[in-house]
Amino acid sequence: MSAAELRVRGLGMQFEGLTALADVTMGIPAGEIHGLIGPNGAGKTTFFNCLTGFYRPTSGELWLASQRVDGLPTHVLAALGVSRTFQNIRLFANMTALENVLVGSHTHIRAGGREVLSVHRPSHRATIDRLISLGTAHRAAIQGLVELAGAVGRPPAVRNAEQEAVTSARRILAAVGLAGRENALARNLPYGDQRRLEVARALATRPGLLLLDEPTAGMNPQESAAMVGLIRRIRDEFETTIVLIEHQMRVVMGVCERITVLDYGRKIAEGTPAEVQRDTRVIEAYLGTRALRAGGHGTS
C-alpha cells in the first residue's frame, strides 16, 4: 500500500463527563513523518485509539486518502492500511517473532478464495450498513466456508501464499534488525527487540498510515538513535505516512518533519520542529506560565 494522506476534521472524544479530545483538526500529507507531542494526559493515545477504531469518536470526521473512516471497526481500518504499535508493548507474547509478523500479514495471505472487503465504497454510512446487513452475513458465511476448505485442503495456491508470507515476514524482520530471532518467543526477546518486533508486525499489515506510540520509551540514547534511523528507513522503504507520539525531544526534533501539539485534548500548535519550539503556548503547556515569563526575560 502506498503512503496515505490523513485528514482529521473537528475530532472529538467524550467519555461521560471527561473530554479527552475536542475539535482536533489537522492534515498530514502522504509520506510525512509527523510528531504528536503534549504533556501527559493530553489525549495523544486517545487520538491513536480513535484512528484505529479502538474508540468510536463522538464527533468529527476522519479521512484516509479519499475515504471516510471514522467509526469503522478496527480490523477494517487495519485492512484499509492503518496500523499501530503500543505504548506498553502488546506483542503476542507466546508466539514466535515470525508468527507475530505473520499475524500482521493476515489480510494479505490468501486463504482459499478472494477476500471480499466490502468497505471500498465512497459512502461511509452505507459501508457500516452493509457490514451489518444480512447480505453481508450470508457472504461472510460462504467466505468462511471457503477459507475453511482452503485451510483443510491446503491447495497449492494457499500453500504458496503462506510461503510468500513467510518470506516477506523474514524480510521485514531483517529490515528492523531481527534477523536470526525468527523462532524466539516474543516474550523472551530483550526489551529493545520487542519494540522493534512491534514495528515489524505493524509493517506486515502494509500500512499506508503507521502510528507509533512512543517507540523509544524506555530506551537508552544509543537505542533511541537506532530507532530514529529505523523510522526514517521505514518511511522510505515501506512508503508509509508515519505519525509518532514521543516524549524525547531529541527524537521528535530529529525525525519529524512537522509536529502537532496537544494539550487537554485540544490542538495548541502545529508546524515544523523549529516553529513549535518557539511557540509560546507550547512552552506554557510544558513548563507553565511562570517559566514562560522567566524564559522570556532571559532571552529578550
Binding site: 480490523h75 499475524v103 493476515h106 489480510t107 477459507e147 524466539a184 523472551n188
Partner: protein, 390 residues
Amino acid sequence: MPSLAAARIRERMGAPIGKIPGVWRWPLFVGLSATIPFLLSDVWIQMLVFVGLFIVLGLGLNVVVGFAGLLDLGYVAFFAAGAYSLGIMSSPGSPFDLSMNFWLVLPLGVVIAALFGILLGLPVLPLRGDYLAIVTLGFGEIIRLFLVNREDVTAGSQGLSAIARPEIGGFEIESFTHWYYFVLAAAVVVGFVASRLRDSRIGRAWEAIREDEDVAAAMGVNTVKYKLMAFAIGAAIGGLGGVIYASFIGFISPAGFSLQVSIDVLAIVIIGGMGSTPGVILGALVLVGIPRILLFRETADFLSKLEWMREVLNGLIRGMDAFVPGSIGRLPPAGEWGAELADDTRFIIFGALLVIIMVVRPEGLMPSRRRQLEFAIEEPAALPATGAGG
C-alpha cells in the same frame, strides 16, 4: 553386514519417539492403534471406543479452548445436538418417526451442531474470560432442560431408543471391534482437520485472539468472524461425536447430557495439555480409560491380591490412632475392594490422580511445543532454528 543392519534396526526400535521423523509419527500411531482389536478382549475394546469418542470431543473442544482461548463450559450442548439429531431423525420412537438413514443424518447433525455453535457464539462475542465461561455454562443447561421438557420434540426424559446404526455397503457396524475402527477413523479425520486448521492463517488468527484480542483486530484479524468460526468448528466436531455416540449406545436420554460431560471433556483438554493433539489422546486415555479400568473384574481381582498392603496400611492407621484415637476407620478386607471400587472409592482414586497430575505437570501431560516453552522456567538463551516441524 547383517549384524550392522540388525544393530541399526535395534537402534531404531530403541529410539525414543522424538527420533522418529515427524511425518511418520501419526501414521505409525494410527497403524499401531489399528492392531489393538487383535490383542485385547471386548471389555477393553468397548472402553477404547469410549476413549476414542472422547478423543473426538476433546479435539473439538481443543479448537475452542486450546486454539482460540475461549473457555466453553457448555460443550455438552453440541454433543447433545448431534446425538439428538440422529435420535430424532432415526429412532422409531421419536415424535416425528422419520427413520432416516445414519449416513444422511451424520452431515445434518454436524451442520445442526455447528449452527448451535454460532447461536451460542453470537451473544457471547463481547464476553471474555470468566463471563464467557458462565454464559456457556448456562447454555449447556438450557439445552439439557430443553431436552427434558420439550417432549413433543425430544420424547423428554423417557429418551429415544433403537437409534440407527451405520452401514457400509450392506455391512452393518455392530460389534465393539467394528465400532472401534469407526471411531478411530472419525478421530483420524477430526485430528487431521484440526491440525490443518491450527497450521493455517485461521489457526494463527485464533492464537492471536487468545493472546490479545484487541491487538489481533488492529492487525486486521476479524475477531468476530474467527471467534464464531472457532465456536462453529468446535460445535461441529462435538456434534459428530454426538451422532456417533447416539448410534453406538443406541439409546439416549437427557440424563446422559449433563454438565458432567462438559467438565470431563474440558478436563481431558487441560490434563492432556491445552492446544495439543497428543495431549488430548493421552488425556482421554487417562480420564475416560482409568475410571473404566477400575471397574473391570480383572482390576478388582488384582487388587484383592494386595491383602498384605491392607495389613500394612491398617498397621499405620493403628499407629496413628495412638495419637488421635478413633480418628480413622480400618480398611476393609481386600476381597471387598472390588465392590468398593465400583462404588465411590474409584472416584477418590481418580480425583487424587488428577490432583497429582496437575501438581506435577501443570502444563498438561503432553503439552504443545509452545506450551512447553511457556512453562519453561529457564529462559532459552537462543532458540535453535527448529528443523523438522513436529
